[in-house]
Symmetry: C3
Subunit: 433 residues, 3 copies
């Protein structure tokens, strides 16, 4: 990889941040167009009204402007200052109202009076404004000029996709939601890490797996994608939802619904060895709930940092550009590369000199002066020889030995070169395929 991913990731977040995205509309189109400058993205448009699984593609929403103004025309709450001020999917309005009439339409966070909440109403027609509790205190009694200049009409739902072919048509799926407006960690962070990962994978020679990246609006987007790609699903061997990767806290891997899939084994060490956490599936979260639903039962885990709802800035105006950090994005990216390394390279091997320990010294693999402790490289070889019985895979061995997968992978390569190890028969033969 010739560029430093952190260099561009944060810049891309800055560029995407101002756009007012939603589950449909021009915000998503504009976002996918920008992503398309980095990787070749196929864009799909699905008409409103299309039946998708148990759902229906809703009307398309677009927004021009929205504000509350006092009689002098001064904008008290203004979409143009922050697209969080409008309840996402608000229907068009033009009215003059008192504070009393308006109040049920105004959303605040009384316990965090400086912050503007993020609210949506995709499936019930309504409208509303979001503002800080502090701002609400100072708007006065009205009357207010209310303007919501939106359209909510039959149109399309838009999602983007990138397929990177590999040696087999077994696929690894990465998905990320693209429907939140000016919220940085949730989920511009996931989008830009996915872009960097896609670039790295496209450049990876001799890929065993094909890789697919889906950039879709949350819930309805993944449901639409699932409903249109039923034949593809049989090829998905592993998957990850990427979200909230630039915010605070350690990495958190959430297991698949069943919790014992190969991706669960593969994704845990890169997270835990960085001090991160592995937790069981919960059916409330991001699009993993669609992929893992019983009828599909796809092995899709989720990588994030501190998950949704567990940090106070979640779904508020405080999840802004200052909330995500380059180092966090880079750490997530590095962990993902290690997950891919396991998926690509894990396999079972056979020890070809199984009667006692082979003499590594005469093959130049062992220090000649005895009496000291063994190096990490020697330990990795001893573990690999000690457990390569044709069934245990390198990941099994790394887990057992508490070594990085990469170390065991290197030991297996060295031992294979020395004629002491060979890959077990039986196809590509990985415990994680």
């Amino acid at each position: 990889m010739t560029h430093r991913p952190g260099d561009e990731a944060y810049a891309l977040i800055e560029r995407l941040y101002p756009i007012c995205r939603s589950i449909t509309g021009n915000g998503v189109r504009q976002t996918l167009a920008i992503l398309g400058e980095h990787i070749p993205i196929d864009v799909t448009e699905v008409p409103s009204g299309t039946k998708v699984l148990d759902w229906v593609v809703p009307d398309e929403w677009n927004i021009e402007d929205a504000y509350l103004a006092d009689p002098s025309g001064r904008r008290l709450v203004d979409f143009r200052r922050s697209n969080l001020h409008i309840v996402n999917y608000s229907e068009p309005v033009r009215a003059r109202m008192s504070l009393e009439e308006l109040r049920p339409r105004l959303h605040t966070l009384p316990d965090r009076p400086e912050l503007v909440p993020y609210r949506t109403s995709y499936y019930e027609r309504t409208w509303g404004f979001c503002l800080s509790a502090r701002a609400l205190d100072s708007v006065g009694a009205g009357p207010f000029d209310v303007v919501v200049d939106t359209t909510l009409e039959p149109g399309e739902l838009t999602y983007g996709e990138l397929a990177i072919p590999g040696e087999t048509d077994d696929e690894v799926l990465f998905t990320t939601h693209v429907c939140h407006p000016s919220i940085a960690n949730d989920n511009l962070s996931g989008i830009v890490v996915a872009i960097e990962l896609a670039r790295a994978l496209a450049a990876l020679p001799g890929r065993r797996f094909s890789y697919r990246f889906v950039f879709a609006p949350g819930t309805i987007g993944s449901i639409t994608w699932l409903s249109r790609n039923r034949r593809l699903l049989d090829h998905i061997r592993h998957g990850l939802v990427l979200t909230g990767l630039g915010g605070p806290g350690r990495l958190v891997y959430q297991r698949t619904r069943r919790g014992d899939r190969a991706i669960d084994r593969a994704a845990a060490p890169p997270v835990t060895r960085r001090g991160g956490e592995v937790r069981d599936y919960s059916p409330y979260g991001y699009d993993e709930r669609q992929f893992n639903a019983i009828g599909f039962d796809l092995p899709v885990g989720r990588l994030s940092r501190t998950p949704h709802g567990e940090y106070p800035e979640y779904h508020t105006s405080a999840d802004d550009l200052g909330f995500v950090r380059d180092e966090e994005l880079l750490e997530a990216y590095a962990a993902l590369l290690q997950v891919v390394e396991v998926l690509e390279h894990d396999a079972a091997y056979v020890n070809l000199s199984p009667h006692g320990e082979p003499q590594l010294g005469k093959r130049g693999l062992y220090p000649t002066t005895g009496g000291k402790s063994a190096s990490d490289a020697v330990m990795a070889m001893l573990w690999t020889l000690g457990y390569s019985d044709g069934r245990a895979t390198l990941l099994d061995i790394a887990d057992r030995a508490d070594l990085d997968f990469a170390q065991v992978c290197r030991a297996a390569a060295d031992l294979t070169r020395a004629g002491l190890l060979e890959r077990a028969r039986g196809g590509p033969g990985s415990s994680v395929s």
Copy 2:
């Protein structure tokens, strides 16, 4: 349930407390007669000398009076002040003895000098008195008039039983020992909780299980009941020994001997979610050791608070009316109702909309304004949909989700009404039946 169980439970303990019970005799008969005023109890009398399993029903013991008196006739140790003063099952005696002669017959607790111990000698003919170490210090050197006015002759062993029929003849067994004299926690507490539970179950409409309550003397009573009900045993699906439920400490569920029976699954959450403890089987304790014996292997757990031998008042005069508390009895009762709720209602369900998450909002089951966290009710529905694959039961799901069984049960009912869930085929179909 129209009466508050705590109202009557403690009053019943007060009424039963003065009676001098033993493993046979009028104390048990009188106790069962009083219980019969609350629920209809069948009383069985089994003649002395009857062979029951490896044991023989012993002679019947009854007591009129017992005391040690000084030469002036002043009673120094007096059965009429506490029936713990006489070693239970003492044979009749009338003698004059010095302290020296008496001493091997006198039982005290030197390390707890204020307390009178509870001692028995059912299977070896002897006699003795129990008194506090303090009292022993002050009795003087004698001589003493020793009177033990008991009878120990062929008679009957008495136990009581209540069967509450349900839709099936699969049975749930509750047992409690009725052989201790004036000891409140061990086991008037278990008796009165059983009475309240029996009343509640008799009033429960559409019971899936039949319920059986056995009120029997410890060890020999349950052995006698087992020996006379061999054909019944095949119907017992779950069982609980109830004992020590009004004393101090948290609830303690002791698993069945095998430890992996359905009752072990069902009884754990009502206990642990109240801060209680679940522990493995130990072969020393109450009648669970008879039911769990290898030859019967019945799935009978035990519910208590701090178990026998683990509190200093155990088997002493300090386990008195002041030692049991209404709130503790009520908590135990509430936990038992929840165990029954699981036994009655646990079942596997099938998600009828398994491809992706069904749109709960259009069915009125989901809040329409997005962006906030999910409510408990929504979470319970998502967990239920997420794991109802026709094999996992509601209890499995509640355990996994760390939710109350009742919440998941309610979610299943709501989803079933909405046409999103149905009970899995295959009989009453519960993992715990």
Copy 3:
């Protein structure tokens, strides 16, 4: 056993300590000759150049003298003061060198400046001296007279062996390495404990197992033994490497490679019930790595105290006579006798009175006065009756009950005598055989 093992064990260590052992040569011969005064040892000599598995028996090394002297003839580093001063297996040298020329040949421990390291070079011809960092500071700039008076020529590798026949030819193998020079804990401690254990086993009447003790140089010795005893290996049911048993810290049992062998079950309680630790296999250590290698897959665990590399005195001059203690050797010995007790006596039994609890009192096995807690002996009987279903063995029951194996063994004997228990059919019938 009529002698106190600790009496002689430490004396034997003192006698063996001065000898300069290596993987071949007269040091091993002299050591085995001394051991032969205690138990009858068969000595095997295998010629240099013999192919053994992946290895070749090396030339034989013997040493007469070695030193660095200043021009006046004063010995600055002197093999005769400590045989650790010479790199073990150094080839012969006679030269005059400056400090600069010598420096690459001098081994020190800069972070522990008072200690002399132990270094070897068995498989690459070289020579060198080991000295304390402090001594190196004061040797001056030279020139030095360098004398290494060794021979390194075709000869033999020597190992010793003792077979103690039992009722079956199922074998238990104990091995210990005999190749370290003046290092007390590693492994004179293992050698002397093995000697004491062998004496005890030879005196044990009615041994179910045959026992084999192998005293061999590390790595090449066990590899040579394995290559020459392939037919024997099928008889090995359990094995233990004994090493580092007199040093500091608690007992540590390292499991076999697979970790679920009978010896792993049997060896754990004697260690953990003494506050010791049980840990998983690691492929770096002592000769267990040869026995456990995939091709042999022998169930050989390892008993030590704090293992190699985990105490600062390891492989230095500080592992001297003052470093091992009699009490530690005795504790290890006692634990080993308990392991043997399990191997010899564990078996499954059948409860012959399985319907309810048998009446122990009428058989004199139960206290007649009721109301008190059960004794340990009664508890052991109740556990044994409670779980003797013909499958669970006494060790299973002891583990479950958290009792000493010996207690459960005694309970089984008492119950068998009382006609309440019998050994399960099917051969010698032990879960650990």
